[in-house]
Amino acid sequence: MTDQVMMDVQGLEIRFGGVVAAAGINFQIYEGRNLAIIGPNGAGKTTFLNMCTGYLKPHAGKIIYEGEDVAGIGPRKLVKKGVARAFQIPQLFAEHSVRENILMAVAAASGYEAPLTRLEDISGASEADRILEMLKCSNLAERPVQELPEGQRKLIDIGVALALKPRLLFLDEPTSGVASTEKFAILEIIAEALEEENVTSVFVEHDEGIVERFADEVAVWNRGEVLYRGTPQDILTHPDVIRDVMGGHV
């Protein structure tokens, strides 16, 4: 854990019609601290991720990353700067296999080599196998991604993001769609991979148990605002959080 600010969000605002999805958010993401974002449906969590990864341009505010305002510059440029993302609904290449999906990310990160090299023969090909092994998905390598259940597709989606060698990774509900009995095991795998790759993560999560176990810090979102921020122990037992966000139960 460090006190080095990686991404500094200042006064971020965005509206969709009458819906305020970000109402002047001031927020810092610190290097090496895994941050969980919790909050009810429609709180603006995904929208925040969309802005931090360059996909949505905020109506006002700045996102300072590596000394530069990156608000609205587009995912392509941010990926090149080391900011990657896994999605709430996995975004994979449906007509390709698991391994090809990862390989396509490896190829994108390393640039095109000789134009007629086969995808499976690129020099980074072993990197794809390493990532699959790290995610304990080697057995899925040849499977077409659309055959896989949602939970496994999510893991592959994270693998694709990791293949880009990010410094900062946003994960949108990595364990939704995973059976509750498997959630911990899956997050264990993800957390180990993040640690091994030295990636700082920001993950949206609804499951308090998961947050308590894997987050260094928690931020509570509601109606486009950050209501609370603190350690999992403090936040998850905070009476207001329990009342406002978790509907009165723990």
Partner: protein, 324 residues
Amino acid sequence: MKPALFLAGILLCAIAPWIIPNSQVLLTIALSKGLAVLGVIVLLQAGQVSFGHALFYAIAAYGTAFLGKYFGGGELFLAMAIGTISAALAGLLVGLFVVRYRHIFFGMLNLSVSMIFFSILEKFYFITGGSDGLRVERPSVLGIAMERGPFEVVLFYVALVCAVLAMILIHRFLSSPLGNHLRAIKSNEVRLEYLGVSPRLVLLKGYIVSAALCGLGGSLMAVTLGVVTPEYAWWVRSGEFVFIAILGGSGSVGGAFVGALVYEGVRTYASAFAADVWQLILGGVLLVVILFAPKGLIGFIKQRKASNLRPRSSKSAAGEALSK
């Protein structure tokens, strides 16, 4: 495709003119069209259908005709190179504009550009010969002037070699990282962006490759027929390329040529025996293909081949496309 099947197909094609009487020009035409169809197939990989690729076919054909007209007959390989390069450059220009659009807009914009070019060819009579077109001088081959008979033999084998090289290179291109990113445009552009890849740039590169292939086909066609007319750029021609791509099978490079050979064969022989119904026959064939062999004739051939080896093909439809 299995290498053995691929080789057998090429050999069969190479000896066909000596077996089937009067088929040589027909086969050259089919191979030339097949090259253009392969161009259309490259874009189909990205899920984009162009209804205007006759544009590039026509640009190369007229380029070839101008070369012959203004530079005394010209040279076959130079004509092919100039045709291909001018089509690729036109592909770059048109591509910069159309790759921002998808699906029906992409298809229709291509159509519009090709129809504009069609009108230019018709209206600028003093340069293009208007609707009469231009005669294409028979070019020399590596500096040797040839009589019509031997020239046609040479042309057929040149077209065959071009077809084989194009199939090999395009198959490799589509298996490369860039080719895979091109195919990914069909399934997920958002993820492509989040890989740091520009879908537009990828599509532009594919578009240039596809225009160049249409150009090579157009050049060969111009010297084969000895005449170019605005009809080369007519939208029906573009539609024909798409038709043949679906008929032959858009999932693999061989489909372009299988489709073109069958198409030209049916067209020629059916119109000889049943002058007015060849479109009906081809329409019927396409209907049957779409209903019973959605991967086109080439998919059908491969399936038959596979079922000879195994009782039932175990590969999924998606897995088999491009799994040559």
